[in-house]
Symmetry: C2
Subunit: 290 residues, 2 copies
Amino acid sequence: MFLILGGNGYVGTAFQKHLQKLQLPFEVISRAVVDYSDETSLLRLFDQRRPEFLINAAGYTGRPNVDACEVHRTECLQGNAVLPGVIRSACEKAGLPWGHVSSGCIYTGAKPDGSGFTEADAPNFSFRQNNCSFYSGCKALGEELLSGAANCYVWRLRIPFNEFDGPRNYISKMMRYDCLLKATNSLSQLDEFASACVACWTKRVPFGVYNLTNPGSVTTEDVVAMIKRHGLVHKDFRFFDSEDQFMQLAAKTPRSNCVLDTTKAEQLKLPMRPIVESLEMAMRGWVKAR
Amino acid sequence: MFLILGGNGYVGTAFQKHLQKLQLPFEVISRAVVDYSDETSLLRLFDQRRPEFLINAAGYTGRPNVDACEVHRTECLQGNAVLPGVIRSACEKAGLPWGHVSSGCIYTGAKPDGSGFTEADAPNFSFRQNNCSFYSGCKALGEELLSGAANCYVWRLRIPFNEFDGPRNYISKMMRYDCLLKATNSLSQLDEFASACVACWTKRVPFGVYNLTNPGSVTTEDVVAMIKRHGLVHKDFRFFDSEDQFMQLAAKTPRSNCVLDTTKAEQLKLPMRPIVESLEMAMRGWVKAR
């Protein structure tokens, strides 16, 4: 049996859907019922439920976007850095294998030759570089707290999307923002991400960090061209002149725009399609929010 | 009535002693009775007790020294960064004025002219500089979470000592370590520190950050010379050749050695004696641990 912390969030729901599809039993643990930020409560829960694996899909992201984390710094630090540390400690004590939904947003840019960052590269968009949003800083600290953790997967998600229109979906965001920042990014098709995470455990791939973005990268302009081609929205897209202008007019804190290397996940045949293919599929099957 | 969180620790006990001396009523809140890391519990506590002022002397320091924080990173982050953020939020909601025991160990060195860092200088020994111990990083993050806090004092303590021999007392540590690192530091006589903190509130000095070290600074060699002169211990003191050797042989994480400027506190006549005077008094009245 799987336990999912944060199972009713945007990412957690994708895990639920995927486990249902695989007919694997799971239970969503809600914060209202179990205070999973507390190690003792977690250990009691493990003792009662005897899960085979735990998924931590809980975290603090900020609404409507990452700028909110600049204001809600305590919650952000608690949910993204301390919480994984607490879960690690409980899981190690209970001998329970688990996976943590981390973020690829702890990197900025790409390597000088244009290739992506691998799991062996240290985060370069973090408190330690003093160049990041509070959110990214907390996510990177969370990974520090997991370094050397036993029986633990660290799954890096980036800018999730799928075919369901909604406020957390990257494609929807692109369509709704007044003006866009030109950037190159690796992205994660959300359902493929959940599937790859679960596969880590069912295939018993080695514990450790995994970049779980779709192979490749796209520019904002690429995505806009696809949105237009699929006729998802009819409007003139506008772009900021520069990142400076974006920061001046639209953002409180810098965004991570980056390319990740997915060789490690690909070699283990974790199921993520090339990014353009997944974007095409999402737009072809687009389900508009009502 | 004052509430003291962490009131039974090394620093909290000094607050108790001082408030007793002033005949000011206080209550020590123990973690076993109230989970003060939880905002709702704090608000309930405030509602029941109706304090006029809250002192946060709780924090995670690591035993026997700061190296332990490299291992207990979750507790360190929770106790030194998240906790002040939670208390801030509760105090702001309740309109309760309060003070947080921070640390001067978020600086390293001194200014190019040898003078100390003022409250206006950004910490230079923190995650953002990527040069620090995990403890200092957490303490600096804790101050970030308090920036702009209403009705809040941030009191910076550094390397506490007084006349009572003990494992947390700087003078005792100097006497017990096999080998010492040569460095220049600002220090805080613990009881004067507690007195200065309480005076902030009783004198209603403006809320904000205060360096509450004794004016001036001393070198390790100065302190050793005083220890010898007062005959506190009879042994040959040895020194590391360099900070590199210290790091190689004795430490897991870099130490903050720094000089703080105390002009702000002095101008408000917060009661801290010149450092050499306070050290002399402590050694003259030295009370050996049994």
